[in-house]
């Protein structure tokens, strides 16, 4: 299918390209520009160029907090992804076992956390689950006679609280994708494997996983990016304006946001943003090479 239509493709895609240039590309370019200046609240209009200073400050000074934010982000992404892939795989397997009559009902019920607006879920969890006074978790804990737990006031409990919430919100998507992929696997493979005496584990490792991989790989890559750029959970749970919980958990995204909108250090925040963008480009190229050969 090769069509040469002159300017027609350009005319078709022009409106969207203009929109994307205006809303996405131009602001990124402007962020790059700001990252070389000392723009902040006191230098709103009379900022000047300070070269690479913002980058140096972000990347070499330990106390700037950026390096620890990178570590947190890596731990956050890896831990979340491993748990998500493993848990969703087994849940999807369970849903697809023959004879499970209520499978569809379970699937629908499990989709609820995905369907709920994210910020509402997070705010409901913040007060309804994790809060020390009204939270359901603490009501249970005190009901069985244990002292109250402050889930969000220190870094490590806050990290795991955020992680549990993230799993709750993100698992339905992967379960659904895994489930769809599992249904596309040809059943005759399993039967012949059974005849050859392959056990449950062997069947899954040698048939199921290779069969579903091409289908779920894009979903996993997509989820990795959303996990990496997860902002809402950490921000809304621990660092809302006026109601900080005491945890100083920062991923790179919340770090950049805090510098721009809380400490008003726009130059530093922009430099951090550009560094993050650099990482993203790097990983995209990496992934691109990984799935090369498939035509766009």
């Amino acid at each position: 299918m090769k069509k040469k239509n002159g300017t027609l493709p350009w005319r078709f895609s022009l409106p969207s390209m203009v929109l994307i240039t205006m809303i996405i590309i131009f602001p990124i370019a402007f962020t790059l520009y700001i990252s070389f200046t000392n723009m902040n609240l006191y230098h709103w209009d009379d900022y000047r160029f300070i070269g690479m200073n913002n980058y140096i400050r972000a990347l070499t000074k330990i106390d700037s907090g950026f390096l620890s934010a990178i570590v947190t982000t890596i731990i956050w992404t890896v831990l979340n992804m491993v748990l998500q892939i493993v848990i969703s795989f087994f849940i999807a397997l369970g849903l697809n076992i023959k004879g499970l009559k209520l499978g569809r009902l379970y699937k629908t019920l499990l989709m609820f956390p995905w369907a709920m607006p994210a910020y509402i879920s997070i705010l409901l969890w913040r007060v309804g689950m994790y809060n020390t006074e009204y939270g359901l978790l603490n009501k249970f804990i005190t009901a069985i006679g244990l002292p109250k737990v402050e889930f969000l006031s220190e870094n490590i409990p806050a990290f795991f609280s955020c992680m549990v919430l993230n799993l709750w919100m993100a698992l339905p998507f992967l379960i659904m994708m895994m489930d769809g992929a599992l249904q596309s696997v040809d059943h005759s493979y399993y039967e012949s494997a059974k005849l050859d005496g392959a056990g449950w584990w062997a069947r899954n490792i040698y048939i199921t996983i290779p069969c579903i991989w091409p289908i779920i790989a894009p979903a996993i890559i997509m989820t990795t990016f959303t996990t990496f750029k997860q902002f809402d959970i950490i921000y809304l749970l621990t660092m809302q304006k006026g109601s900080l919980t005491g945890a100083t958990l920062n991923t790179v995204i919340t770090y950049a946001y805090q510098n721009a909108f809380v400490s008003n250090n726009y130059g530093l925040s922009s430099a951090v943003s550009i560094v993050i963008f650099g990482f993203i480009i790097f990983f995209s190229l990496f992934i691109n090479r990984g799935i090369k050969g498939e035509n766009i």
Partner: protein, 279 residues
């Protein structure tokens, strides 16, 4: 053989039990919010876990005492406006990228993917400053443009993937019969690609309905709040007092999305993976 049947039965029972427990566990946070929204008075402060008296006073309060209906109207304007612009621009672009081979096509597609991975929060300040200069802060048009721009890439990629699966011969015969390219899109592609278009449009709608950060940053007047902005304010003021009302508002805000979501669920896997598998 009999032994095997028994084992199967036990396995299914355990599995059913597991899934029932899992579903209950997963639904607790939502169920608890619902329970609070229909319980009267300050039962949040008591240690009871059961409704003493079912009441709709919280729903009445949110609808009459808080400007919930105005927020609803604003959210609707934003969602529908964004959907219109995002779909209007991305359908034709997705068609162009799917059907025509032109210079820079692959590079643009790859660039779009990278741009899509860029978290928009990071350029929020730059957008804010730019919009301030052209007076688009506190205006729906400004916010709609931001939303449409960020969902446009998703739309192009997702629909392009689906268009790729539609055989080109159908169009060729229509073209021979004298249909213009825009007629081909409207009369042939749109009906055939319905799952992808519905899923994309609903995803855009849900995205806008659920977005709070840009909504609270770019719309700062109380009467222009969207649902997200309003609810955010409601809980950030004094949530101990507002908490039952907030739960009622949460339930009301979620219901349209839940309905939409479960309506398109059957299209979801095919509408989302056709693009993904090839990408």
């Amino acid at each position: 053989m009999k032994l095997k049947k028994v084992r199967c039965g036990i396995l299914l029972m355990v599995l059913n039990l597991f899934f029932i427990l899992l579903c209950l566990l997963v639904l607790i946070p939502i169920g608890y919010a619902f329970f609070l929204s229909i319980s009267s008075g300050n039962s949040t402060f008591q240690n009871t876990l059961w409704v003493k008296q079912v009441t709709l006073q919280n729903y009445k309060a949110i609808l009459l005492e808080e400007p919930f209906l105005i927020w609803l109207k604003n959210s609707t304007i934003l969602s529908v406006g964004t959907m219109g612009i995002a779909m209007g621009t991305s359908v034709s672009a997705a068609y162009a990228f799917s059907r025509f081979r032109f210079r820079g096509r692959e590079q643009i597609l790859k660039l779009l993917l990278v741009l899509n991975a860029f978290p928009q929060i990071l350029s929020m300040f730059a957008i804010f400053r730019l919009f301030k200069n052209i007076h688009l802060i506190n205006s729906y048009i400004g916010l709609i443009l931001i939303y449409a721009g960020s969902m446009c890439i998703f739309g192009i990629w997702n629909m392009k993937g689906y268009f790729d699966t539609i055989p080109v011969e159908i169009e060729e015969s229509a073209a021979i019969d004298g249909a213009s390219p825009s007629q081909v899109i409207r009369k042939i592609i749109l009906p055939l690609a319905r799952p992808a278009i519905i899923v994309t449009a609903v995803m855009v709608l849900i995205f806008v309905w659920n977005e709070y950060l840009f909504a609270t940053t770019f719309l700062m007047k109380a009467d222009s709040y969207s649902l997200a902005g309003g609810l955010y304010q409601l809980q950030s003021n004094d949530y101990s007092r507002n908490w039952p009302i907030f739960s009622a508002a949460s339930i009301l805000t979620s219901i349209p999305i839940l309905i939409l979501f479960f309506c398109i669920q059957k299209y979801m896997v095919s509408g989302l993976t056709a693009g993904g598998v090839k990408g």
